[in-house]
Symmetry: C2
Subunit: 134 residues, 2 copies
DNA sequence: CTATATGATACTATATCAGTATCATTTTGT
DNA sequence: ACAAAATGATACTGATATAGTATCATATAG
């Protein structure tokens, strides 16, 4: 199992690069160079980040993307959720269906605690902490 | 992302049921009843557990499966690894390829720590702790 | 008013997950 | 010996998630 997939990976690299540039707006071309991934794929990723409110975009000549917030307020956990969904499932963390006895299930509580801790740890990593020029 | 998939789920239920029976050998038919999953699928799961050294099997009439170890020495993390592979990847936890600068990568270390903690937490949950008759 | 940039969306390919089917081999009871 | 009852090994199929591409619409600067 991968905790972090390709889209999240590229997203974080792009965000860290934008963080390096201290709030500047960059074009997809700039980011393609920095991240090292195909242009159409990165475009899709950036659009998702924009929809999630992590990036702000501007269309037209001279357009591009900039961070919607300072890099110390963008968390790895949040970025991960955009591309891979939340860690928690609604009812039962353990498989799709319910256990034979949901009410008395001890594992459910334990797994919930573990996933909660994991989520907090992922949220403790900010984009700022991943910038080059720290 | 699911921390635990279906195979691991069913495997744990089967193991917990075997634990309830205190080292008894049970047939697939017994376990199908206890776990509530199709017979061929459970068979595949049990065979993997046998290959992993978590179950012992006996063929032929009156055969079946029993725990290869006491339930307090079978860990959720180990079972999970049988079906979903290890948490850690060799080089870089972050995506498939290396970062632009592997040596100076701060994220790699952080993710390694997080994954390490997660693995320890999963290993702290034993089959015994999930048995009905605790 | 056009070149340049992103927005929206649909499509394709590949990998992983979930589940089924089949035949071989071992063991036990008669 | 032999048939019934069990698991072993393995190949196959369908569904879902991941990874990536392609196309046309829309906004903006000059
Ligand atoms: S109710 Fe889902 S693991 Fe127990
Ligand atoms: S080297 Fe892989 S995340 Fe940095």
């Amino acid at each position: 199992m991968r905790l972090i997939n390709r889209e999240t990976d590229y997203a974080v690299r792009a965000l860290a690069h934008l963080g390096d540039k201290a709030g500047e707006r960059l074009s997809v071309s700039d980011l393609v160079r920095a991240v090292g991934v195909s242009r159409p794929f990165l475009r899709k990723i950036l659009q998702k980040l924009e929809q999630a409110g992590i990036l702000e975009s501007r269309k037209g000549r001279g357009g591009g993307f900039k961070l919607a917030r300072p890099p110390e307020r963008i968390m790895l956990g949040e970025v991960r959720t955009v591309f891979q969904g939340p860690l928690k499932t609604e009812n039962c963390l353990f498989g799709v269906r319910l256990c034979y006895d949901y009410k008395t299930c001890r594992l459910r509580r334990k797994m919930r605690d573990i996933e909660g801790r994991l989520a907090r740890e992922l949220d403790a990593i900010t984009i700022q902490s991943l910038q080059k020029d720290l």
